[in-house]
Symmetry: C2
Subunit: 541 residues, 2 copies
């Protein structure tokens, strides 16, 4: 059985070793020798001094691997989070773990470190003092490579002047400093460069200076470094929150979360390009959406379902808003009579989501805006609904002619977004009753005009973000429409047959998670909101 | 803009038609004619009477498609959920929508219907009465096909004797009855048969009776029917709750939800069989786990991450517990010093999950147990932890010899589960310090004996459910271990390089969602807990 609870928590690798009941003296001596060797090697580049000469050598150094191999259980509460460092801790001793973001030696007796943890930063001062901090320890600090992980133990002080270049307004007077993981000396991207806004770069140019601009491809090639910028930390914490609000809202409305297969026989909706593969000798493909299976789950009596999962599109789209793999937020629900019931869910869900993001993700949104400035999204408490006909009429009035039963192109969508913002003061609205011809085969035509359909798109900042509709639930009609759209009915027979066993009228919608985050934050490229994006040219890292 | 809020809510398709402002008289007449034609067709099999003769014909019938094409917005609150029907509604008029689960004519003047919605059932009585219910309406009710979706309007009454064969203890005296979606008359599976327990079937056999037993393959072939059984409704609502507790617990502990790509270059961990495909001319495969990318997200400074997503395994495993596609619950987190920190999360998370399931899913668990009887899971408030050595020692004591640096086979796992239950009174425990040789290359060896590793498996009812470990975070060591395990280092260079930019010690674990539900409910096959399972022989529906 575990002995973790019976062991003493320890503050440092050094302490843990001396306190460990199991560690023999011999082992300890061996370990100490190894540690000193490694510290000597690490400082040798800048010094000929041997740490053997330093009686305070136990206070710093590189933590040997053996110590990091779960040698000693730790009390995780011994560490203070950088985020939690504030003046209430004055004169208290604290232990933090984070990255050495910046290292500034000042002469030979002093070095400043900026330590970063999850986007929060604190300034630490390593200053030579008799019996506390040796000059060798200052040298060790100064020789640390940026982005290395360190444990810093020290006393909290409140500096006289405000600290620039760190988020926390306290300073740590360092007593102990251990390197837990060494970064290579020359990183392919400097976090400082990656975190710089265009505004700063432009300002520098005007001042005759040249600052490094890290391009998108370089960022994505070295994504694990790029992800460390405050903006990226913010983006993916916002993304996590979007998923959370989506789920919590729907669970509270009696929706059931489902997981449908991504490996399917035949193509999921026909039309668009799919990724094909061999499945144990059978031809198969990756689901382009959970459409068919989420509808089948309505046939299976779950009433209201949702899914969050990957969606695969093999299309050759090289735009700012298409990916070959993205995260779909999908909803399907019984309706009593009307597709407005689905739009009601969209309306309440997204208003709740925007409200939550604005209140709960303030710091993250600020971090994004610092690098990529944007105006907060304008939206109404009750989402505006326009028919497609009303939409194209608005465009017509400003001289943009749209084919009445065609679709809006990207340019027209943007223009309409602008007109809606001017007229109604919102950047989030629903456009419904789309022409049938531009919707998938399973879309229910309007009762009064079969050229239109019971469908809708939702727009944020002039870009489409959600697509939804009532579905055809009558199998004979569904077959007819599939044929009319050029789909081989036998490839989707299990789907169509599902409707022969009785099915309530139903509808639903799908949203791209990455698009929600991109457009809420006014970002210019969907690759910024995908952790490891996949596009026609990129399948790594 | 939407006019939904300005329109009157309507109770029935008939009502909605007459109230609709837009419907012209001509259209209404046409509609009524169509409806009568359809009703006549539906009842003609059993009758030569024409509904034209029935002055009460507006009270029943088949809802024409046009009415279901979002002709009239509905007030969804007009419908009462079957689950909500109780004696407080006595003498009140209610409208419900559900499936005609059972239809029992009693002579020509009376028919009983059992209506089911989301697993809840209510008895409805259609009885001929002058000026209210015509004999033709009784005939219409009696001719309904099972599993058809109907709208039933009527008055709630409290029967003198308890109602068998329905979950709700009230009866509805039917006034109006409309068929919203007709099921075909002969279903490939009867829900009654699919919902039957083995115990019932055995009892019947002993009584000389023969009841239909629906086998697994038939169930899966007609999954949308099979899903309608109370047990399956319960299973997937429990599954939804498992995912929810998993996320809520982790979000509260500062974890960030991430989404990693499923399309990757090279094989995700090497070893096991992968699904290969062509990615825009590049060889690619489906991720066998989010292992590498979740670790890279730790390198990217997210500190603590989790993911819920599909996992693909092309292995030819024909067991009760393997699928080719399942839902992975994955966690990765920084650790300060010890893999026990990861085990602490597992411990608290799963105890919280089991507690929540037992309190919040009582009805669902009952529904499962009614068809598939099981004993509630025995678990301790603080999860038992045994080392692998302790485990094989326990087995040795009862004569089961295990190779000390090998793995436990399924049989040994079951035996150990039994011994642990007898000795410690728990069916949920952690076995840690596994032999290094049986773990993936990225597993951190133990500090004191490189034949063991800082890893663990977790067991429920004698079956492995969770695998976790501390990871090797030193790139040179990781390379060495990958090579030793026969993995081509250059195929995972982006992963290994991630550790060159500084990374905190970390660990994590992975769980199969379907296994959690299967073992918590003591089910005998993982196909029961996958909505649309994928195994080497099945890729449909």
């Amino acid at each position: 059985m575990s002995t973790s609870e019976s062991q003493e928590p320890t503050l440092s690798s050094e302490g843990s070793e001396t306190k460990s009941k199991k560690a023999s003296k011999k082992e300890a001596a061996k370990l100490e020798k190894q540690r000193r060797r490694e510290v000597a090697a690490a400082t040798s580049a800048t010094s000929t001094l041997s740490v053997e000469d330093d009686p305070l050598a136990v206070n710093y150094g590189i933590v040997p691997l053996i110590e990091l191999q779960s040698k000693t259980p730790a009390n995780v509460n011994d560490w203070t989070r950088v985020e939690a460092l504030n003046d209430s801790l004055e004169n208290k001793q604290v232990l933090i773990r984070g990255r050495a973001q910046a290292i500034r030696p000042v002469g030979k007796k002093m070095a400043f470190l900026v330590i970063r943890e999850n986007g929060f930063t604190v300034q630490c001062l390593v200053q030579a003092q008799p019996d506390l901090v040796s000059p060798q320890m200052v040298k060790f600090a100064a020789a640390l490579s940026r982005e290395s992980i360190v444990d810093v133990e020290g006393v909290v002080s409140i500096p006289a002047a405000p600290i620039k270049g760190a988020t926390q307004q306290i300073e740590i007077q360092v007593r102990k400093l251990y390197c837990v993981s060494k970064a290579i000396p020359t990183l392919p991207i400097n976090i400082e460069d990656a975190a710089r806004s265009e505004v700063e770069i432009e300002k520098a140019i005007q001042a005759g200076e040249q600052l490094v601009r890290v391009n998108q491809d370089t960022r994505l090639n070295f994504r694990v470094l790029d992800l460390r910028t405050p903006a990226n930390q913010g983006i993916f914490r916002i993304q996590s929150q979007v998923g959370n609000v989506f789920r919590q809202f729907l669970l509270a409305e009696s929706f059931v979360e489902i997981h449908t297969p991504k490996l399917i026989a035949g193509s999921s909706e026909g039309g668009a390009a799919v990724f094909r593969l061999d499945y144990k000798g059978q031809p198969a493909c990756l689901a382009q959406s959970p459409q068919l299976h989420k509808q089948m789950s309505i046939c299976g009596d779950f009433g209201r379902v949702f899914e969050i999962g990957p969606v695969f599109r093999a299309e050759d789209s090289f735009t700012h808003r298409h990916l070959c793999e993205f995260t779909g937020l999908d909803v399907e629900m019984e309706i009593k009579k009307h597709y407005f019931e689905v739009m009601d869910v969209v309306d309440k869900l997204f208003v709740a989501m925007f409200d939550t993001l604005n209140t709960k993700c303030k710091k993250d949104l600020e971090a994004v805006a610092n690098q990529y400035p944007f105006e907060p999204l304008k939206y109404l408490p009750n989402t505006l609904r326009l028919t497609y006909e009303e939409g194209i009429q608005m465009l017509k009035e400003v001289g943009v002619e749209i084919e009445p039963f065609g679709d809006l192109n990207t340019e027209a969508e943007r223009k309409l977004g602008q007109l809606v913002l001017e007229k109604y003061g919102t950047e989030f609205y629903i456009l419904h009753r789309y022409p049938l011809a531009v919707r998938p085969f399973y879309t229910m035509p309007c009762y009064d005009n079969p050229n239109y359909s019971n469908s809708f798109d939702v727009f944020i900042r002039g870009e489409e973000i959600i697509s939804g509709a009532q579905r055809i639930h009558v199998p004979e009609f569904l077959e007819e429409r599939a044929q009319a759209c050029g789909i081989e009915v036998k490839t989707i027979s299990a789907y169509i047959d599902s409707f022969r066993y009785g099915v309530p009228p139903h509808g639903g919608f799908g949203v791209g998670l990455e698009r929600v985050v991109m457009l809420f934050c006014g970002l210019n490229n969907i690759r910024k909101t995908s952790l490891y994006p996949r596009d026609p040219l990129r399948i790594a890292p």
